[in-house]
Structure formats: C-alpha cells, structure tokens
C-alpha cells in the first residue's frame, strides 16, 4: 500500500468512525455535504478535529478553514475523496 493510499484509507476510517450506520461504505465519491451526505454539521466538526489529530501525528497542521473549504465546486468537504485529496495535498505542501 502506497503512502497516499494509506493516508486516504486513514481519512476514510476517520469518516467511518463517525457514522451511525456502520454498514455504509466510504468511498471516493461519498458526499460529505449537501443531499445524501453522511455527516451533519456536528459530525463534520468532529471529523475536522479528528483529522487535526491525525495530521498532528504526521507532523503537520491540517487547516480546515482554508479557501478550499469555502468553494462549492471545489470544497474539500464535497466528497470523501476530495477531503482525503486535500489532506494529502496539505501534508505534501508542509513537508
């Protein structure tokens, strides 16, 4: 498993850990915001805190207030895959 795949898997695990319906599978296209999303606003904040901890363990600071969070079309929260991608991108940028 590559580092990227492993990190993506860790982000998906963090999302899964917050789901009430544990049978739901988290994948690249799983929506996090809007219609059909898995998380309410409280869970979304909890996810951010969880990813902050994960990032801290990896030696970087995960910024969940970046401009990317605000864009509807590019929001890091639009899908699980987008979130994992942004997480990995922030880690790479801060290395």
């Amino acid at each position: 498993m590559t580092d990227t795949t492993m990190l993506q898997s860790q982000v998906y695990d963090a999302i899964s850990a917050l789901l009430e319906d544990t049978s739901r599978k988290v994948g690249d296209d799983t929506p996090l915001l809007g219609d059909g999303s898995l998380l309410d606003s409280m869970k979304l904040v909890e996810l951010c805190l969880s990813l902050e901890d994960l990032a801290s363990g990896l030696g970087f600071e995960f910024d969940w207030t970046s401009d990317v969070a605000m864009s509807k079309s590019r929001s890091m929260f639009r899908t699980a895959g987008a979130l994992a991608g942004e997480f990995i991108s922030q880690m790479d940028a801060k290395k």
């Binding site: 409280m42 904040v45 909890e46 805190l49 902050e52 207030t65």
Partner: protein, 225 residues
C-alpha cells in the same frame, strides 16, 4: 484555563484580576502585555495569523481551555460622516473580526472536550442607538448577531456563547466622553446609575459558572437597556 483578550487594561484587565482571585487560571492576550502579572502573550486580535499563533502555542502547551472572554475592543466617538475610512476599518477589524477570529480559532479547543463558555462584548450603544457612536455600535451589533448564530453552532458541543453589553463603565474606553454625556447615557438605562468593572466581572463569573449552562445566545445588558 480561561483566555481573555484585551487583558492588559480596562474591562479585560479587571476581569482577569477578578478571575485570578477566584482561582481561575487565566491566559491574557493584548497587543502589549509588558508587566502583566499573569501568563499572557502579545496578540493583536484583528490579525487572524496572530490569533492562530496563540492557538498553536496553547495546543503545544497542552492546556485545557474552558473559557474565552473577548474583551478586546476599541472605540472612536465621532459622527459617521466625519470618521476617516481607516478608523472605521480599524474599529470593525478589531471589534467584530477580532471577536470572530478568536471564536473560530479558539472554540475548537473547547469542542474537543465538549464544554466551555464564550463571552463576547457588545455595548449599550447598540440597544440605544447612541448618536456619535454609529460605527462603534455597528461593529458591536455585528458581535451580537454573530453571538446568537455562533451559539447555535456551538450548542451541539455544550459550549455556551453569550454577550455582555455594558453601559458606560469607567475605563480608558470612555476617555473623550464628558461626564455630562456619560450621565445622559446612564439616564437611559433601566437602572439609571453608572456601574463599575466589578458589575461586569460579576456577570462574567456567572456566565462561566456551570449554573448558567442554560443560557446561550443571549445579550446581557449591564444596567438594563
């Protein structure tokens, strides 16, 4: 630990002094913290990056934050039409955006343990629409609106968010306001007498106490308005 902004003087300092007498741990923020007799850090709350640096330090130190008191603020008593744009920007940047920055960056430290109290500061100038304070009142009206909505966002995490709105309290913020003007404002309060920083500190203590956990999104007027 309670984080207090505007901790070097005025109401912020009075609140810090009171909390210390009640055995709270206080961490003060102010632009100049020289000589502050409690743990503190220099921070201009109008700068998002400066507040972020404070949060990074608090995280690094591993302290548990249980309260945030946003007492930092500036005022300029002028007619809106005679106020330079830089002054208007500075007032909004410090009073409104400073409060927002501190809330959005420091609140997550409380969300982690699902407990805490945030106390913002407004002014009687909002409720009374005081002449000569329109820009200051606008910045603080923003704080009140933010407080009410942010309180809902924080409610899931057992963090209360309230606002204290004092009348004219005898601090540096009142310099330039004549005793006659102060008297006119005080006369419009429901309790028409000038209160001291002690009255404000009493309310802060109340809002930090778990017995006020049913209060959130409220604006409490010192003296009544």
């Amino acid at each position: 630990m309670i984080v207090v902004t505007g901790a070097s003087k005025g109401l912020g300092r009075a609140i810090c002094d009171r909390l210390l007498t009640k055995d709270f741990e206080v961490f003060g923020l102010a632009r100049n913290v020289t000589g502050t007799p409690f743990p503190s850090m220099s921070c201009d709350v109008s700068s998002y990056e400066a507040v972020k640096a404070v949060v990074q330090k608090l995280k690094k130190d591993g302290v548990k934050i249980t309260g945030l008191i946003n007492a930092a603020g500036i005022a300029s008593m002028n007619l809106a039409v005679t106020t330079p744009p830089a002054v208007s920007q500075n007032i909004v940047q410090t009073n409104l955006l400073g409060t927002i920055f501190c809330c959005q960056l420091i609140a997550p430290l409380m969300l982690r343990h699902k407990a805490g109290a945030i106390i913002n500061f407004s002014t009687i100038a909002v409720a009374l629409g005081l002449k000569g304070e329109s820009i200051y009142a606008a910045s603080k009206a923003g704080v009140e609106g933010f407080t009410r909505a942010f309180a809902r966002e924080m409610a899931d995490f057992n963090v209360t968010v309230n606002c204290v709105a004092p009348g004219p309290i005898d601090t540096n913020l009142l310099k330039g306001v004549s005793p006659l003007q102060v008297g006119r404002i005080v006369a419009q309060q429901i309790i028409p007498r000038q209160f001291t920083p002690d009255a404000v500190s009493d309310l802060v203590e109340l809002l930090l106490d778990s017995r006020s956990s049913s209060l959130s999104g409220q604006v409490l007027h010192v003296g009544g308005a």
